[in-house]
Symmetry: C2
Subunit: 218 residues, 2 copies
DNA sequence: TTTTTCATACCAACCGATTGGTATGTAATG
DNA sequence: CATTACATACCAATCGGTTGGTATGAAAAA
């Protein structure tokens, strides 16, 4: 007889982890509860013990993904000592590196579920909207701090520019996935850098050929 | 008995039109063939007479959408007399106006199906990839022509910048839909304009109005 | 310590509805 | 007539979700 293991937290974690993997590959609708259970090695009965419905699992997946993101961005976001402009470039560097992971294309579960569910499921839309906002606030805070420390050549609204970067990032992952060309994302990020350099009046080129990414010190 | 109308072309058009409406609202997977048939006022037998399967209809919807797009961009793309840089700004103007339509949020079926299907269905991915490429080539051609006529302040690769604008546009629609804030898209387009002005060395501001001080920190 | 209790983690089997897709028949067209 | 356009009825598979019940472990009771 199989030994029955009781570990509710790990069971939930396994389900959420399986959901993230499958949703990133297939999208939310195309990923069935059965599939998630199989991937997690959990029965369906157990699934619905821990989650009221599929939507609830979606929410948990979004939250877990957000945590992964915060950890990835942490070196740029939560380094109080560095210059804010330097931290901004560091974040762009991190984003660029996310592009090079061999496990698969650079994708975001928030962007995917936004695109798929925003007009259908208000709860999921709100969750995605909130995560996009959180990202934006971090970036806007860095931009605002950078503005204060380095009077920009051209005035701008930090929140507005953060949404600009946010949208570019999401769109780059979308197009990069469809074109199966991660280098495309990196080139877009280089242009984002160039725009920031333009706003702050710092030296930087728009880049014509993909050369070594200039990580000029502020 | 009901009079039976035979108009194969219109039947196909109705099916494609219904598919576009429903997919834009619900995504591809969430839109069933039954639903499409109901919306189009066509029976399922008729559907499968005209389309081999659901994927085939998806392809037709993408193609039809691309035609709609070409018509919308036509004033900017196919005006041989205007200055190419002017045509570029005209296109951005058109994109901005697409944001203001009251029928619903500004969305793109290519971006939606890319995000949902790119890693699942190679045929659909190729179709989306091709449409993104077509858009890009039009924009890249304008950029190249503009470069020739107006020697830019900063050298750049037209194709590369076109992908930058392409990604920004797709990402803006994604975020704009999720945040339910079409003005966000317009502001992003303003920044795109500013970047182009920067590249070409023409006069332009980053944003019209620097707004209230940024706060917001977690 | 040992036994009893009891909420909960977990499971297999099942449910009605819906999915994409077919088989087959009929009516219009050329 | 043959071909094409459309309709009806149906299918197996799968969907999200429910069912009734078993296994478990920690606390309470003995």
């Amino acid at each position: 007889m199989k030994k029955r293991v009781r570990d509710p937290e790990q069971t939930q974690r396994k389900l959420v982890a399986a959901a993230i993997v499958l949703i990133l590959r297939q999208g939310f609708h195309a990923t069935s509860v059965d599939q998630i259970c199989a991937e997690a090695g959990v029965t369906k009965g157990s699934f619905f013990h821990h989650f009221a419905n599929k939507e609830a699992l979606g929410l948990a997946a979004i939250a877990a993904w957000a945590k992964i993101g915060r950890d990835a961005y942490a070196p740029a976001w939560h380094d109080a000592v560095s210059d804010p402009l330097k931290r901004l470039h560091r974040m762009l560097e991190i984003m660029s590196q996310l592009t090079e992971r061999p496990e698969g294309p650079c994708v975001c579960i928030v962007g995917m579920m936004s695109q798929e569910m925003a007009l259908q499921d208000e709860t999921l839309r709100d969750a995605c909207s909130g995560e996009l906002l959180d990202w934006n606030q971090e970036v806007a805070a860095m931009l605002a701090a950078a503005k204060e420390k380095h009077p920009p050549a051209i005035d701008f609204d930090p929140v507005e520019v953060a949404w600009f970067l946010n949208s570019l990032w999401q769109g780059s992952m979308l197009v990069g996935k469809t074109r199966a060309e991660p280098a495309l994302i990196r080139r877009n990020l280089t242009h984002a850098r160039a725009y920031l350099d333009h706003l702050f009046g710092t030296q930087g080129r728009a880049s014509r050929k993909p050369k070594s990414p200039s990580r000029s010190k502020s």
